[in-house]
Subunit: 441 residues, 2 copies
């Protein structure tokens, strides 16, 4: 494509991200002017309602309700799908690919479920899909995995990839406020949706994990096989006990290589205050990646919001305009449509350290019974925290136990046995402790 | 290049990084096998002495002392310059480019001084120079600046880009040990060179800053116009006073956009304990980049060492094998050989907050005199820390003042006037306080 040629863009879906992307390509045109050889030109903003687009002052001449017109326009080279969801979005994306357009998308749910099929379709049509905006907003983590880190065997990836959850957990940790209390505030401040389920259930993080892990390990990931636990049942007392032990609780998207396969999981986990991920606070995101040659690298930034996500969308557009992303998409062999299925381990096979909170009667011999059950299940204790009973301990006293590495299946069996003891009240709490992944340097 | 074609590599200079890169391409071949379309094959290891290469168990059939043989071999597509320095390295690099080979290099000093000329030469020869390894070792910061962040106007970049200095400063901060003491230990542990000047003087950081700033701002940087101050004169008491005020001292490579031009500088500076860069400890590196759309993003990892740097070298090689880097190099317009000269501000024009330590006689009216001088030079005080005098204060008591934003020229003039006061003993210490760059989101 010569310098005089223009690279035409259609944005489909003009919400928060679509609007910000349209602004970046028009109002901020001078930032991008001359930055890459073919000039990038926004030709259409497609939606069914243009209230938001108008409120941003976008040029009404761009507004279009007819996707077919866009698909038929040979001066449109890339369709930017920012509709979200898996129905209309998928339909638009497939039509665009079939019409020979590149696709840029932020749609993590769709790529987590159907990425491999869509990439394969794009490949058959000799076009590309770019999706930097699908994971961790403005942080260029897709490019790190498909660019700077490609000479590594990646062994582990730990991500804080949901800003809503991280905001809530940061407040619970630093201000000692309950989950419900902080969630209500976050909703008022626009940091959490009215229906926060997708975020707080861990599902959104799992979508991103599926995408990131597929590239980190060069494997096809089965989204439905990822065990997911959210932050909605996390109790404040566990956050506080963890702090006493030197840990911070984070909703982590974890992918790690074990001898027997790959473990992918999303859940609240304790991480040492010394680990860089423990420092990531408020709505920020970060992803730690461990490579056999690089060791630990981490990528930090704003994981959501119109402008940061639009930055990723626009980087993808420019990269397609330059022909760069097409090259990665064609020549790199990490894409899930080209790779084998991952051997994903069930949650029982996870090897980790654990935090257990067991509520016991304050009676002689109780700890001995618990320790005996743990020992029987090959679980070694690293620390015990039991405080002096006080007047309110009629309902039992909490005993906090941390363990050495153990198999999660063993821990679950042990906890079930412990909870069946007469001297144990209620259900014990079990939270994984994520350790710094050992570097091989 | 079809899949059956091989991409031939010659590594020139088999030291720590060259040896690790050769190992990554041979011993770890299975990691890279099938990762990208043209297979990458190491054809030569060029050096004058192969003791190190032999100690790594590299295949002796690769060893070559004749660079001309490499340049004449049409099956060599990329020459990896890992000699270092600016004489032989430059000669090798120019010869390789003239012979039509791509060049991969980790040579920050050479690129800081002569990058624009070398890029122009490469462009004339229709080949590319890739240099991810020149800045911050295994952290893919060059790719962030030329990839994921390209849709931003970048406004500031703060880097901790020298692991030796960061190790020394971390020890001074956390263990309260003197510079000389920690340096000696670092030398014993191999974390500092026998002659540490290049590192502790700030020069190595300035080399990296010149490269990073040229890409961040799309401008040609005059290396010699970068004001550089090292950590070798930093006193422990200032580290401690800073901590009392909530700051950590780091050797920062700073590039920031001011209304009147670009300010580039390298020096020890205070940064708030709340800023992610304050958390970066030991030999780790990190670079914070502020974009008008992304806001703050940060990149963290090991900034030196054989394997992390080899990871960057090999990523560049793979990227060239795929044709990806050539595309960036040709189509992106941020390269210093294609861009205007930066308007680099002199140090006097820097706008910053400052920490001042003034040693005064413990006498009435002294503070009033100091405050009057600061006021005259348009410097507002934000905090004062003066401790009760004790028996050892015959030589004067330290008064610690922090200021609002001021022009550095004014601060320097004020300090000169203050130091000329009869009641002031010795030379005052002035350290910049770097604040979180304001995001525009």
């Amino acid at each position: 494509m010569s310098e005089s040629v223009q690279f035409g863009v259609a944005i489909v879906g003009c919400g928060t991200v679509g609007g910000a992307a349209a602004q970046l390509l028009t109002r901020d045109r001078e930032v991008l002017a001359g930055r890459c050889a073919p000039a990038v030109v926004l030709r259409y903003v497609v939606d069914v309602n243009f209230d938001h687009a108008r409120s941003l002052g976008l040029d009404e001449a761009l507004f279009c309700t007819d996707i077919q017109k866009v698909l038929d326009d040979k001066d449109v080279h890339v369709v930017v799908e920012l509709i979200g969801g898996q129905t209309i979005a998928r339909d638009v994306m497939e039509k665009a690919l079939r019409a020979g357009k590149h696709v840029v998308t932020a749609n993590k749910a769709l790529l987590a479920h159907a990425g491999a099929e869509l990439y394969a379709l794009a490949r058959r049509q000799n076009v590309s899909i770019a999706f930097e905006a699908s994971c961790a907003g403005g942080i260029p983590i897709i490019r790190a995995l498909t660019g700077g880190l490609i000479a590594n065997r990646l062994d582990a990836l730990y991500g804080i990839v949901n800003g809503t959850c991280n905001f809530i957990l940061t407040e619970m940790t630093t201000a000692g406020r309950s989950y419900a209390d902080v969630l209500a505030e976050a909703q008022k401040a626009g940091l959490a949706e009215a229906d926060p389920t997708l975020d707080v259930s861990g599902e959104d993080s799992a979508h991103k994990l599926a995408i990131l892990a597929s590239l980190a390990f060069g494997r096809k990931i089965d989204y439905d096989a990822i065990p997911v636990e959210g932050i909605d049942t996390l109790e404040l007392c566990d956050v506080a006990f963890g702090q006493q032990l030197g840990y911070v609780v984070k909703l982590l998207a974890i992918a790690s290589r074990q001898d027997d396969g790959l473990s992918l999981r999303v859940r609240p986990a304790f991480i040492s205050k010394e680990h860089p991920l423990a420092w990531v606070s408020g709505p920020f995101n970060a992803v730690s990646v461990y490579g056999h040659a690089t060791g630990h690298t981490m990528y930090y930034g704003r994981g959501a919001g119109g402008k940061p996500t639009a930055s990723a969308v626009a980087a993808d557009i420019l990269s397609l305009a330059m022909g760069a992303w097409q090259n990665q998409f064609a020549q790199l062999k990490l894409w899930p449509d080209l790779s084998e299925k991952a051997e994903q381990l069930p949650i029982e096979a996870v090897q980790s350290r654990y935090y257990l909170r067991i509520t016991c009667q304050d009676a002689p011999g109780v700890f001995g019974q618990i320790a005996a059950i743990l020992g029987k299940h090959e679980i070694s204790i690293t620390s015990v925290l039991q405080q002096e009973p006080h007047s309110a301990s009629a309902g039992g006293v909490p005993v906090i136990i941390t363990t050495h590495h153990a198999r999660e299946g063993n821990v679950r069996n042990a906890v079930a046995e412990i909870d069946a003891l007469n001297v144990v009240k209620g259900k014990s709490v079990c939270i994984g402790i994520v350790e710094e992944y050992p570097e091989e340097l």
